[in-house]
């Protein structure tokens, strides 16, 4: 069984920042990523609110640079998942797709996954008109009519982005007002090709004869009335759920599945940290995600010096 100092689970900004600090402290550091590096910033286009980038920075560019920076100090990246985590005296044992690994400290930075609508047709039509990434897929809907579901910042931003290609964009929200920030709301509601559909939920995504999305079955929440809305695509942004399955049973989680930690990102289990969107009370911003990763790595280093070295 291979042995490392610090295991980092998740390759978003939190994990990459933790990896930078851990590796730069000359700890043998391995980061596991089960999807793509960068996490949610890999899905964004221009990041305008990360301090120090006055002209904005492309999310994927930033992610690639963060990885390069951490690897320049010796962090290793493994593209694979960690299935289970168990405690043995002095170690955490990670069960990975390529065997077991012993780590003296573990930083869980697995982030959050997009919430699905959970309606018929959604899963089968993913990639055939159902999308969770307008930045990736809007260009395939040039001149067509599409819908964006959600009312937060992500939904409104993506609705605005989608207007670059689509002829008309319905913004479907289950409430009668948006949750998004004032600036975004103003931009969206003033946009001639964005049409909000208030108090409305999607009950089904239906395909046409070509096997691609053709319409949505909608229900008006207040009146209960139903109707079909012809669209070629639907972009879903109704929030995220923390990826904390690994921590279940090991540390206390709140009702939403977030891990309780203290201000050092400590979970209460020796050498086990939870940082970024997996923890309670996260501001869920790129800068705070990176900050969480740094805090966890600094404390993990302290833990190794204090109790292990």
């Amino acid at each position: 069984m291979s042995e490392i100092d610090i295991a980092i689970i998740g390759g978003g900004p939190t994990g990459l920042a933790a990896g930078l600090y851990a590796a730069r402290a000359r700890r043998r550091t391995v980061l596991w990523e089960r999807g793509v590096l960068g996490g949610q910033i890999a899905l964004t286009s221009l990041v305008e609110n990360y301090p120090g980038f006055a002209d904005g920075v492309l999310g994927p560019d930033l992610a690639i640079d963060m990885q390069r920076q951490a690897e320049s100090f010796g962090m290793e990246t493994v593209y694979g998942g960690v299935d289970r985590l168990r405690r043995e005296p002095g170690y955490w044992v990670l069960a990975t797709s390529e065997g077991e690994v012993r780590a003296r400290a573990v930083i869980v930075a697995a982030g959050a996954d997009p919430v699905k609508l959970g309606v018929p047709g959604e899963e089968a039509l993913t990639g055939r008109g159902v999308s969770y990434c307008a930045t990736c897929d809007a260009a395939f809907f040039g001149g067509e009519v599409v819908a964006v579901v959600g009312g937060g910042d992500a939904a409104v931003e993506e609705a605005l982005f989608t207007t670059r290609y689509a002829r008309h964009v319905y913004l479907i929200h289950r409430r009668d007002r948006l949750r998004a920030s004032a600036v975004l709301q103003q931009r969206a509601l003033a946009h001639e090709r964005i049409e909000p559909l208030w108090d409305t939920v999607v009950e089904e995504v239906a395909a046409g004869p070509d096997g691609q999305v053709a319409s949505l079955a909608l229900r008006h929440v207040a009146s209960g009335s139903r109707r079909d809305l012809p669209v070629a695509g639907v972009f879903i942004f109704i929030g995220h759920r923390p990826s904390t399955e690994l921590l279940r049973g090991l540390v206390p989680l709140d009702g939403g599945g977030h891990a309780y930690v203290n201000l050092w990102m400590e979970t209460g289990q020796p050498g086990l940290f939870a940082a970024g969107e997996v923890r309670v009370d996260s501001a869920r911003q790129l800068a705070t995600a990176a900050g969480d990763g740094v805090t966890a790595a600094v404390r993990a280093e302290h833990y190794l010096q204090q109790y292990v070295d």
Binding site: R128, C136, D137, F140, D210
Partner: protein, 108 residues
Amino acid sequence: MSHPADTTDDTFDQDVVKSDLPVMVDFWAPWCGPCRMVAPIVEELADEYEGRVKFVKLNTDENPRIAGQYGIRSIPTLLVFKGGQPVGQIVGFRPKSDLAKHLEAALV
């Protein structure tokens, strides 16, 4: 690292449909962030399956005909071809082990 070769609307038939080996096609575009993030995973697979599976990538901006023909509405999408027919489709980013499973299925 093996870098998958580019295929185009014009060469797709030759590169993919008529290939003796199974082929994994990576549909991507320059503006697609996640596509860039998927690339290193595909390159690792290309190394591991060298000689058994052919890897190519298709820029959907420059080659809309093939992207349209196979109903690509989301990128990154990976299609696995065997005997000229698509036998597996992977939309979005998934763990490397999931991608490998699709390849293994095509190799049987």
